[in-house]
Symmetry: C2
Subunit: 531 residues, 2 copies
């Protein structure tokens, strides 16, 4: 409401030479009454039925620009219809901007008595639903033309993807520091074009592991050189030991030798190690150069590559040194997952399932129905799953870049998960395996505290287990930490413990979480002991 | 105009229970006509005379709140009168905010035909003059009460300084990342209060050198502990070798051992080495904690401590690794300059004189008249000089935090200066000495290119020499680089050379510079050869 949907849709339709459908207008035309009158005479429920019918009809069209009412995303069926042939763009705006645009007139029936409060309440209600859009665009301060420009640029970037994969493009909306996340097939081959479109000019350094260099890096460097780019390749060993100040020092030296200046960019091709190290080096070399994340593991594609967290380890602990330095572009080419070891793929599924639990119900339910196809690396299902996870992460990061609030929800499963990893000395288990056990124990905490129903714990446990992930400490075999005390000790050393207090993100229902820092220590110990 | 001066002054005066003088009203009362009529009938020059008389009269008052017209800072005499007993606060606002407030009415004679253009032109004209204020406050979006709050807080912080020093507080206006720079005597003893006022809570780590720790650090830590703060002291050797990844690694370890969490802050007590290293560690520890700069050298107090540049060196070059991470507070206690070696004091004077040349004429002329007293470390003159330099740097940084444009002017003297330092292997000369020679040679380039008059070069040379600084390569003695080729080679390796092109900031006149990247190589070589 008041975000300029109708005007932007008209402008887009006229630029594209396509028909424009306004579902509100369709409802009014069919009912022969204004929406305000439908609300007054028949109530909101009746209007929503009429609206759903109009949306289903519009969703069946191809090549149309469809403007809908702001309440449409609240029904999952509506979103399903719109997604059939379409790209979903959610226009949002600040409450101030909305109020300034719509005033408090009677033609907006939902605004009722106190427009300011009503707008804030509406936004809060609809926020979760908007997260499912392919592009969430804040129109405060933008003209209609500017809104149309951005939607067109986004749609064009998306349609330019390789023809055999329905690539997705997700925007991480951080103003000047915003960037696109591309998910699809054959994207590395298109990198010269994607870099150009993202304005990443200048010299390039490609940071990767030797094996990945042989498999993908050399072809990528050749393609970049063929496009006239200068590229220097730097490799580091594919182990956690590469996330060190020492390794960073060697990469800096290589960048100096390659004569990278402030206009240069670093490409990080690999999983979490290369991404964390590469991002850190880019953040600090010459007080910050641009970088491009090219994640090659499922874990990195759905999570680590998005959000700008960079890190190296200290002898005294993991990820203790780092910055938040957003990439200029993220390109997740799912073809690189073909060579990913099966255990790594499963490990990544832990973060995928986490997103399903804390984010929107849709990805969780999609996985329940399609897990086998995802694990079999079927392109369509992979792109859908990774795209949805990336969109969720992008939305959270857009709203809380520096983890001062909402971004904390991403830590679900990680409070205990990190404790398990640290207690195990990071040996014998993957990050995802630790998170899977962490999610199970934290969900159990939630059930014991009455925060969620047991059925949610059961569904989550079933899905994790079906993905081949451990759900109990005993499942970790020899990596299982010795007793709850070692896990607890490691948890309280974690850098996220502020003033010694443990904070948990607990699932409340699918897509809803509760933050609690009042978990009784005895209960925590009990849950860990039951493990 | 339209920044709310009169309303804010009224509000302040009523809160303080002090008289309020409006110089515009005084002029109108005396002339018996409105200002608009004075402009129309007698012209602007006549009005300015009347205004100057009113300002001189108001400036003689003590304990009054004085509101002036926006053109007052353009006359240096006006500013002198106001500064006599007073603190000068410049209220600014965005052109949009100003236009929204004043409209384009005939009562504002300077707005003429096209108000939008007139406002922008006026702002540009007056911008340099406003830099001289003790506090420059952007009132766009602030209520009168909020403006008064901020001015009061500023005035209180200032008047709370040690009674024997007229401390100055300069604001680095970077929105959420903004902070105050305090310059005065006895400030370290007041640090517990200053930290509290700046909202710097949590555990503290004090990074310094052993000698400075003995001299100031222990007393400071005791004072902080007496105020209930937890402080861990970490020392590093007072040499450039402490600006390394290795030294950073040792500091990180100490911070972990001191159990610093994300809410903690690092205090960097020392010169450039401790500031650069401490800022870098703070920027990267736990993805960024707050830090407070406590500069103890003239160079750091006037320049390095302000602006958030942090750095460590690589074996391949200086300052190649770092970030921009603004401190939460800068406290320049001039008492710490008492123990500064004479050569270091002189070295700092190079940056002071640089500020005089590129910034406003006032500090340069003040130095011409008061150099001996500054070199003799007289408190009043030191505070004035450092305060003005800090204010200038703060203004530049506020407008261009990441050195994408204007901040580059601070590099005057540094393009050649860095080349000299590097060619000398950073041995046998101080940074300020290299900059002094760099400024002389770059000013000579400017004269040869017709960018400035020879008299400016002469005045600058005389002032540098009077400060005991070298002004020719030959003055560097054994540190003198061997021939222009070595300097040139070092210059083109400097990280600021983008795509191999050398960019010079050249003086045009006192307070004005020109950026040139078309300096003929032959001319540069000639100037270097003449040395």
């Amino acid at each position: 409401m008041g975000t300029g949907k109708t005007a932007a849709a008209q402008c887009l339709a006229s630029r594209l030479g396509r028909p424009m459908v306004d579902t509100d207008a369709a409802v009014e035309a069919r009912a022969g009454r204004t929406i305000a009158r439908i609300f007054t005479e028949d109530g909101e429920a009746a209007f929503r039925e009429l609206e759903a019918a109009a949306v289903a009809e519009a969703g069946a069209l191809r090549g149309a620009v469809i403007a809908t009412g702001g309440g449409v995303p609240l029904r999952r069926d509506n979103m399903r219809h719109l997604r059939r042939h379409g790209l979903i763009v959610a226009l949002i705006a600040s409450p101030e901007a909305i109020l300034a645009r719509v005033g408090g007139g009677a033609a907006r029936p939902l605004l009722g008595g106190d427009p300011a409060m009503s707008v804030s309440r509406l936004l809060a209600e609809r926020d979760a639903a908007y997260r499912d859009a392919d592009l969430v665009l804040d129109t405060s301060g933008l003209s209609t033309e500017q809104v149309a420009d951005r939607v067109l640029a986004f749609a064009e970037a998306r349609s330019g993807a390789a023809p055999d994969g329905a690539a997705r493009v997700v925007r991480v909306d951080l103003g000047e520091r915003g960037y696109d996340v591309h998910v699809g097939r054959g994207l590395l081959a298109r990198l010269p074009v994607l870099l150009r479109e993202a304005g990443v000019t200048g010299r390039l350094a490609l940071l990767t592991h030797p094996r990945l260099d042989a498999r993908y890096g050399r072809a990528l460097a050749d393609a970049l050189r063929a496009a006239g780019r200068e590229v220097a390749t730097v490799t580091v060993p594919p182990s956690e030991s590469s996330k060190s100040l020492r390794a960073a020092g060697r990469v800096y030296d290589a960048l100096v030798d390659a004569q990278l200046d402030r206009g240069a960019a670093l490409l990080a091709l690999g999983g979490g190690v290369v991404g964390d190290l590469g991002g850190f080096v880019a953040a600090t070399f010459l007080r910050g150069i641009r970088w491009v994340s090219l994640p090659t593991t499922l874990l990195a594609q759905v999570d680590a590559a998005i959000g700008g967290k960079t890190a190296v380890n200290l002898p005294r602990g993991k990820n203790l040194v780092g910055t938040v330095h957003q990439p200029a572009l993220v390109v997740a080419d799912i073809d690189t997952l073909a060579s990913l070891p099966r255990r790594e793929l499963r490990s990544g599924m832990a973060e995928v399932i986490k997103t399903g639990v804390i984010g929107a119900p849709d990805p969780f339910e999609f996985l329940e129905a399609n897990l086998r196809r995802v694990l079999a690396r079927r392109a369509g299902e992979l792109i859908h799953t990774i795209g949805r996870c990336a969109a969720y992460k992008a939305a959270v990061v857009s709203r809380d870049e520096r983890e001062s609030g909402e971004r904390m929800v991403l830590n679900y499963g990680h409070t205990i998960g990190h404790g398990i990893e640290a207690a195990a000395g990071y040996r014998g288990l993957t990050h995802g395996e630790a998170v899977a056990v962490g999610m199970t124990l934290e969900a159990r905490l939630a059930v014991r505290l009455g925060v969620c129903e047991p059925v949610l714990l059961d569904r989550q446990t079933a899905l994790l287990a079906a993905a081949g992930l451990p759900v109990r400490l005993a499942d970790l075999g020899r990596a299982r930490p010795r007793g709850p005390a070692t896990i607890l000790a490691a948890m309280t050393h974690d850098k996220k413990a502020r003033a010694g207090r443990l904070r948990f993100v607990l699932p409340a229902s699918l897509g809803r979480t509760a933050v609690r820092d009042d978990v009784p220590p005895a209960l925590l110990e009990e849950v860990l002991a039951d493990g």
